[in-house]
């Protein structure tokens, strides 16, 4: 069984919907509220939908684009009922997100290296804990690397996760060179025939040139030691983040070659709509989502579900 199938099995698709229902209901209620208040599709209705989308952090730019497409479709297909707007909206959003579920990349042979990056406090270390848990469950031998040597007690935090899920942590002292830790970890992953190596990194704001250089160096070390690695560079984005996430995605992509997004904290009231813009503009797929602080609170990102959940009518 492939890695993705295993992950799919452990995570389960229904769970995704389940996780989303909680977060979506506020928005869905809102759309429903809006739409049931109208008997025909008019400017006022579109404006209200636009408002709801902007409030979901989709951003003016992308919202305007989506509404424009919706307008076109409504005209072309002569859609009259406000109820039918759900379908159209969900379809347009899904178009932007890409319709398929994108699995995490996997090395053809040897250890799969996953590098986890992002700004401060988004949920990198927690996401690593959850991922490690699921991969262990699926039968993988998982190794963790404590690449955040900067933040106070960051290493301890990862070690606690390591203990929780039963994964070994490769580390050095606080303040040591993260590239050196990563080098050690890659050697260990090869020597111990680990299936997966997940690397934690210090939170860094994307506008700090020196810290981004450090990250570049880390990726260089990895690819020098294992050809084709890192196989997955996961950018962790906090769903509460607004339009700044776009700048984050752009620069992390440029520096570290991001291959996928992990969208965290979707268990709150924030909608994480900014990923629609990110997927559309940067062709950067969202791969997993975080829906809580426990090790089970990780789901695969299913674009269609995400989109239809955004505009879903039937409440569970």
């Amino acid at each position: 069984m492939g890695f993705f199938d295993k992950l799919k099995e452990t995570l389960g698709f229904d769970k995704l919907k389940e996780g989303l229902t909680k977060t979506r209901s506020a928005f869905t209620d809102k759309i429903e509220q809006i739409i049931t208040g109208y008997r025909k599709i008019d400017e006022e209705l579109l404006e209200e939908i636009e408002e709801a989308m902007i409030q979901a952090d989709i951003g003016v730019h992308t919202t305007t684009r989506i509404i424009g497409e919706v307008r076109k479709t409504v005209k072309k297909e002569q859609i009259e009922s406000p109820q039918a707007l759900y379908e159209v909206l969900a379809q347009k959003v899904a178009d932007m997100l890409g319709h398929e579920i994108k699995p995490l990349n996997r090395a053809a042979e040897g250890p799969t290296v996953i590098l986890v990056v992002g700004v401060n406090g988004v949920g990198k270390t927690t996401t690593i804990g959850k991922l490690a848990f699921h991969m262990k469950q699926a039968g993988d031998k998982v190794l963790l690397a404590a690449g955040d040597t900067f933040r106070a007690a960051a290493i301890d935090q990862l070690e606690i996760w390591g203990e929780r899920v039963g994964a070994e942590v490769i580390k050095q002292a606080e303040g040591s060179d993260p590239a050196a830790v990563v080098f050690d970890a890659v050697q260990a992953a090869k020597a111990r025939r680990a299936d997966v190596l997940i690397i934690d990194t210090a939170g860094r704001l994307h506008n700090k040139t020196n810290l981004m250089e450090e990250l570049r160096k880390i990726t260089r070390v990895i690819s020098r030691e294992i050809g084709g690695a890192p196989h997955e560079v996961l950018l962790v984005l906090d769903a509460t983040t607004g339009q700044n996430a776009i700048a984050q995605a752009k620069i992390f992509q440029e520096v570290a070659g991001v291959t996928g997004v992990a969208l965290t904290k979707l268990d709150g009231t924030a909608k994480g709509g900014v990923v629609v813009a990110i997927s559309a503009e940067l062709a950067m797929p969202v791969k997993i989502i975080g829906v809580g602080e426990g090790m089970n609170d990780l789901r695969l990102f299913a674009p269609e579900d995400f989109a239809s959940a955004l505009f879903n009518r039937d409440k569970e």
Partner: protein, 447 residues
């Protein structure tokens, strides 16, 4: 997609009108669309934007604006004024208890930066000759207690913690008792991050509040927060009664519309801003600066202030004259370089300049302190004559300079080339000043 800043956009909007004389109401409506866009792109809450735009429109339609010769600036000025008014005045004070200890409680979402902020706040108070104690009441996040302990150690101040206990209420109480016994006059309670909709955990905060009666409850908010900021703040304020806000990660490039929205909706003052990961990176909050940051006008005020502090004004003015007369040589350049370096890390500095925030993000435009040092070394290896008259620098001189500065001949070549470009730029700048256009240019310490 790159957000250029409202000032630029308005300029474009109004440029179309040139020659038509004065603005009509329709023009103002058009301008307000730009204002609305700018605010939304900056993450100002949708509802706040609505009210705000209505207010600005009302003012902007007034006679004086319509007849103004520079309508764009005028509108920007109104927007800026209204924003600043909405942000309120500076209020970076902490309520002091009549009977010490003063108890401060930090609350907020996960990952907002509470623990780091607790350390920074302690440091700030330490510098004001207070004697803080930190309380580790985050019993949930792995190693949160350890994190606070490490910060306490660095600052050499006591941290109350109890690794055995899973009861944040008890821990907070004990921390206050310990402070009294040890004669510490401030207690800073670091609580676990939580979602505002988590009833159980919100009730826990209420219990802590009831048992230790904090003098200040400060909500810690990430400057990058989007539209949801208002909901979060309303929940925390509604359930706890928040006294003020601390805005974190403002050293990033988020425009910080969340802060404005929170202030507008809750009326609670923003007291401090976190400007970096180090423990001394907590600053009093300047509402006016955030206003121009939201507008994408750069933190001009901060820059001016910084410049005043560290620049030699006479020299600077003299330099400006020389530059504009294009009498610019490596001598002046070296001087300029040193002045700029006195201002602090370059990338931070550039972020403060209008229009430069984006420049920084463009590939190949990174400003680099190391590069600046190299440039300085090269110039220092030139003779005085060469500095004044760069044309003299031929092949053999280049090799000598490279050797003397520990660089490559290519580096020297590049600098010489860029220097010519800068001189050209100076000329352009002069003509641009006349025509009011803006151009892209590259300083020799940009890659």
């Amino acid at each position: 997609m790159i957000f250029e800043g409202l000032a630029d956009k308005l300029q474009q909007t109004f440029r179309k009108l040139r020659g038509r004389g004065r603005l009509t109401e329709a023009d103002v409506v058009e301008a307000m669309r730009e204002v609305r866009m700018a605010l939304l792109e900056a993450d100002v809450n949708y509802k706040v934007v609505k009210d705000f735009v209505a207010r600005v429109k009302e003012r902007a339609i007034g006679q004086d604006v319509l007849e103004s010769l520079t309508p764009a600036q005028h509108v920007v000025k109104i927007v800026n004024e209204e924003l600043t008014a909405l942000m309120g005045g500076t209020q970076s004070r902490i309520a002091v208890a009549n009977n010490p200890p003063t108890v401060i409680m930090l609350v907020g979402l996960q990952g907002a930066g509470k623990t780091t902020t607790a350390g920074k706040l302690a440091n700030l108070l330490l510098q004001q000759n207070r004697r803080p104690l930190l309380a580790a009441a985050d019993v949930y996040r792995p190693a949160a207690i350890k994190q606070l302990q490490v910060l306490g150690e660095k600052l050499d101040i006591p941290v109350y913690s109890d690794e055995e206990s899973k009861n944040p209420v008890r821990i907070s109480q004990e921390a206050v008792h310990t402070a009294i016994m040890k004669g510490r006059d401030v207690v800073i309670v670091d609580t676990a991050g939580r979602l505002h909709i988590n009833e159980e955990l919100m009730a826990e905060l209420q219990n802590i509040k009831q048992s230790i009666r904090p003098h200040e409850i400060l909500l810690v908010v990430d400057a990058m927060t989007g539209q949801d900021a208002v909901t979060v703040a309303e929940h925390f304020d509604g359930q706890l009664g928040v006294d003020g806000i601390i805005l974190t990660k403002l050293d990033g490039d988020a425009r910080g519309g969340a802060a404005l929205s929170i202030k507008a909706v809750t009326g609670k003052p923003i007291k401090f801003a976190g400007m970096g990961e180090k423990l001394d990176a907590l600053e009093p909050f300047h509402p006016d600066r955030l206003a121009s940051r939201i507008l994408g006008m750069g933190d001009v005020l901060s820059l001016i202030e910084k410049a005043e502090q560290s620049l030699d004004l006479e020299k600077a003015q003299d330099m400006e004259k020389k530059m504009l007369r294009a009498e610019f040589t490596f001598e002046e350049f070296l001087e300029q370089l040193r002045q700029v370096r006195k201002l602090g890390p370059l990338d931070q500095l550039l972020g403060m300049l209008p229009g430069m925030g984006n420049l920084k993000k463009m590939p190949g435009m990174e400003v680099n302190d190391k590069e600046m040092k190299r440039v300085e070394a090269i110039i220092l290896s030139m003779t005085k004559k060469e500095r004044r008259n760069p044309q003299l620098i031929d092949g053999s001189r280049r090799r000598r300079i490279a050797k003397g500065s520990g660089t490559q001949v290519q580096d020297v070549n590049r600098l010489l080339k860029q220097f010519v470009e800068v001189k050209k730029m100076m000329k352009q700048l002069q003509s641009m000043q006349k025509s009011g256009k803006k151009g892209k240019f590259k300083l020799p310490f940009m890659r």
